[in-house]
Subunit: 447 residues, 2 copies
C-alpha cells in the first residue's frame, strides 16, 4: 500500500563526498550527514568536505580516514555493570529480528561514530527492527538480561547522543521508515520513528501540506530524533514548537510490552507563498560570508531559492574549514541573543580564529561556534564554564534543540535546579528501572 519513501539501505553511512557531483543508483541508496546535504534540482548531490570534522568516506573509507579516539579514552566515563552480549543473546535476538542482527565489524564502524567524528563506541551488535512490536521484544529481552541499548536514528546529532559509549547494543530505526497513514483533510500523519524528515516533507507536500519542521539535517535525520530533541529549526516562527504538533507517541518502556498507538503528527496546509530574505547584519559580515561560501561552491550572490537556504544550512560545514570547532546550542532572551558573540570575541581575542553566532530568532536559539586551528585545552578553559554561566545569568538554556546527549549532560545544572534533575532521574527510573536505555547520556553523572 505504502511506497518506500526512503532507501531501504541503512542510514548510518554518514559522511560527505569530495566529488562535485555524484549521481546514480549507488548514491541514491545512501543518505548524507544532515548539515552537509543539498538537494539539487537534478536529484541528490554530493558535497565537498575538507576540514577535519568532515571526512571523505564509504563503507571502506574508514581505513583512509584518521581513527576517532574511543570515547572512554577521551572523556572521563566508566562502564556500568551491564551484561556483555553472549552467543546465546545473539541467537535470541536473531529470533526476534531474523536476518537483521548485524555483527560484521566493518558494518559496525560507521554507527559507532558520530558524524562530527568526535566520539566513538565499541558496539559489537546492531539490530534493525521493523515494527514497534519488535522494539518492545528487544527491550524486554535486554531488560531481562541487563544488556544496555543505544537507539540510533539518522546519527546526525551534535552532542554524542546517538552513538554508543561502550558496547551498548545499537537499535537502529532505519527500517522503521513507513508512513502508516495520512489524513488529507486534517493533515494528521501517522508514521514510524525512522522516517527521514525530508522524505516526510516530500510526502506531505505532494498532498498539499507542509511539515511544521525544517532543518539542515533533513536529508538524514529521523523524525523520532527530531521529536526526542524537540528540534526547533527553520519553521519555528510560523508553526511553533514541535511538541505542540505531536498528537501522540507510541512509547516502549524497557520493561513493559508496547502497544499500538503510533506516533502521529499534525501537518499544516502548505502555505500559498513563502518569502525568505537574506539580511546580512553588516558589510563585513556579508563579505565574510561570501568568502566562506566561495569555498563551498555556493555563489556569493544567491539567485535561486534553494541556494539561499543552502547559505544557511551549510554554515556548519563552512566553519569546519577553520580547523577545530567548539559548538554551543543555547536558548537566550531575544534581545541578548547576539551579545554573547561580542562578549566572547573580546574575551578570547586572537586565541580564537572566529566566533560566530547564528540560529533561530523564532525561539531565541543561538548556535554559537568558536573556531581555532586545533583543539586547545586552554581555549576550552576560557570558554567553559564562562559560556554556561553567561547563559544561566540570562536564565537561558544550555541546550536549545541539540539535546544533551553525552557531551552536555553534566552542564544541565546550569539551567535546571537540583529538584528538577532529581525528578528527571525518577522519571527515567520509572520507564527504565535498570537504566539500560542509552546509558551515560542526558542526565548528569553525579547526583
Amino acid at each position: 500500500m505504502m511506497p518506500h519513501l526512503v532507501p531501504r539501505r541503512p542510514v548510518w553511512w554518514l559522511f560527505c563526498w569530495r566529488a562535485a557531483c555524484v549521481q546514480g543508483a549507488s548514491v541514491r541508496q545512501r543518505t548524507w550527514a544532515g548539515p552537509s546535504r543539498i538537494p539539487g534540482p537534478g536529484g541528490l548531490r554530493g558535497v565537498w568536505g575538507t576540514g577535519p570534522l568532515v571526512r571523505q568516506g564509504s563503507s571502506s573509507a574508514s581505513s583512509r580516514a584518521p581513527e576517532v579516539t574511543l570515547t572512554p579514552e577521551r572523556y572521563p566515563v566508566r562502564r556500568l555493570p551491564f551484561s556483555v552480549v553472549s552467543e546465546d543473546d545473539l541467537a535470541a535476538l536473531e529470533h526476534i529480528v531474523p536476518g537483521r542482527v548485524i555483527t560484521d565489524p566493518e558494518e559496525l564502524e560507521a554507527p559507532n561514530v558520530d558524524w562530527l567524528r568526535t566520539v566513538r563506541g565499541s558496539s559489537k551488535v546492531l539490530l534493525r527492527p521493523r515494527t514497534t512490536q519488535e522494539v518492545a521484544h528487544i527491550l524486554r529481552y535486554c531488560h531481562e538480561r541487563n544488556l544496555a541499548v543505544n537507539p540510533q536514528g539518522g546519527n546526525t546529532g551534535m552532542v554524542g547522543g546517538s552513538t554508543p559509549v561502550f558496547d551498548e547494543i545499537i537499535v537502529s530505526t532505519a527500517l522503521m521508515n513507513q508512513v502508516l497513514s495520512f489524513h488529507d483533510v486534517s493533515g494528521v500523519l501517522v508514521c514510524q520513528a525512522g522516517c527521514v524528515l525530508e522524505a516526510l516533507s516530500q510526502y506531505v507536500e505532494e498532498r498539499g501540506f507542509v511539515m511544521p519542521l525544517d532543518l539542515g539535517a533533513k536529508g538524514s535525520c529521523h523524525i523520532g530524533g527530531n521529536v526526542a530533541t524537540n528540534a526547533g529549526g527553520l519553521r519555528f516562527l510560523r508553526y511553533g514548537s514541535l511538541r505542540g504538533t505531536v498528537l501522540g507517541l507510541e512509547v516502549v518502556p524497557t520493561c513493559v510490552p508496547g502497544r499500538g498507538c503510533p506516533s502521529a503528527r499534525l501537518t499544516p496546509p502548505c502555505p500559498a507563498r513563502v518569502s525568505a530574505a537574506w539580511c546580512p547584519s553588516s558589510v563585513d559580515s556579508r563579505t565574510e560570508a561570501a568568502g566562506r561560501f566561495c569555498h563551498l561552491g555556493v555563489p556569493c550572490r544567491p539567485r535561486s531559492h534553494p541556494m539561499l537556504w543552502a547559505l544557511r544550512e551549510r554554515i556548519t560545514e563552512a566553519l569546519s574549514h577553520d580547523g577545530y570547532v567548539y559548538k554551543y546550542d543555547l536558548s537566550l532572551p531575544l534581545d541578548r541573543l547576539y551579545d554573547l558573540v561580542g562578549d566572547l570575541r573580546a574575551r578570547l581575542g586572537p586565541s580564537a580564529k572566529r566566533v560566530v553566532g547564528y540560529g533561530h530568532l523564532g525561539d531565541g536559539n543561538l548556535h554559537l561556534n568558536v573556531t581555532a586551528e586545533t583543539f586547545s585545552a586552554s581555549l576550552l578553559g576560557t570558554l567553559e564554564p564562562y559560556v554556561y554561566e553567561w547563559t544561566a545569568g540570562q536564565r537561558g538554556s544550555v541546550s536549545a534543540e541539540h539535546g544533551l546527549g553525552f557531551k552536555k549532560k553534566d552542564v544541565l545544572g546550569y539551567s535546571k535546579p537540583p529538584e528538577a534533575l532529581q525528578l528527571m532521574r525518577q522519571l527515567k527510573a520509572l520507564l527504565d528501572p535498570k537504566g539500560i536505555l542509552n546509558p551515560y547520556k542526558t542526565l548528569p553523572t553525579h547526583a
Copy 2:
C-alpha cells in the same frame, strides 16, 4: 511594579445575573461563570440565565437556589482514608498563609459547587496562597499530615475536576494572579497560575501581542487550569496546541519543596487583521440558532464583532434553556466530526429534545450536547457507552479539552490502553506518593 490585573477578591462566586446590565464597583470585584460572560463596550456586563444549570446568585443566593446534591450521594464514590482537618492543622496552616485560611461556611458554599451545579463537596477549609513557596509549604504540610487537597482556579470546569468530592482542603489560586515579567521583544510572559485568561489577553494586547488561546470562559478561567487541560479554544487553528507555547512550568510535588522557575508563555505578535465569519450549515440551523439566541438578548443578525463571538461563546448557556444537558467533549477525525450528531439524532429519536454539535475544527474537537426536559437514566443508558464506543471506533479521544476530572475518569480506557493507564498511575504516584492531590479525579477508579 506590576499593576493589579484582576480583582483581588476571590473568584469563586460563579453565577450569572438576571439584570440586563449591572455596573459599578461591586460588580467589578466579581467575575462570571466563563461561558456566560460577555465583555460589553461599556465595561463588564451581566447576562441572563433562566435554565436550571444557570442560577441567579450572590454570596447569599444559595438560600434561594435549589441545593446541589452532594457528590457522594449522586455518584458511587467512597472517601479514602485521609486525615480530617483538626484545630491544630488550622493553626499550622494559618502560620503558612496568615489571614488567608477561610473556614466561614457561607464563604465555602460557592467553591464547593461547580458552575454547572452538578457536583458538590463538603470542604471546611479554603486556603489562598500568594506564592509558589506558600503552595509548597501547604503541600508539604498536607503530605506529612495525610490531608487531601483540591486545587481550584476559576472553577469553570465541565467535568467536576475543580471542586472537592468530600472534605478536601481547597487551595485556591485566586491570589496568585500576578504577571511576573513580560518581554516585549520575544513575547515571553511569565505569570502566576491564577491569572485570569482575559486579564492576560488585555495585558499582552496593550503591548502589541496576543494570547495564543481564547475561549468562552476567558473572563473567569485561570491560565493554570488552561494549561492543565491543554485547552484548545478558538485560536487553535492559527497558534496550535497550547502546550506548544508553554516554555516552562514551576511544578510543586506534594513531598518536595518548590523552587522558582515560574510558568512562562510565548505570546505571538498581535495579528494586523482578524477575519471571522458565521457560516450556518443550513437554513434550519440558522433559524434554530436565531430562535435560541433571541432568548439571550443576542441579536439574530449580528452586527458587531463581539456579538458574533457571543453567538459562539453563549451556546452552552442557550442549551441550558432546554432543561438537562448531557455533555461530551470528544476528539474525532475531521471528516467524521459531525457524523456522530446525525447518528445520535436517529438513535435517540424523540427521547432527546435536541442533539447539538459544535466545537473547534482546528483540532477536531466536537462539543456534543444532548438536551432533555429533565435527567433520565434511560436516556443516559442509550447515550453511554454508545458515544464512547463510537469515539473509540474512530480512534478518537473521550476528552478533548475539558479534562477528565471526576465525571469522565472512568471512561479513559476507551482512549488509552491499560499499559498507558498504568504508566499514568505510576507518574502520579511519583509526584504524589500518598495520593493527596485532587483525589477521586482523572485516573480510573479501578486498576
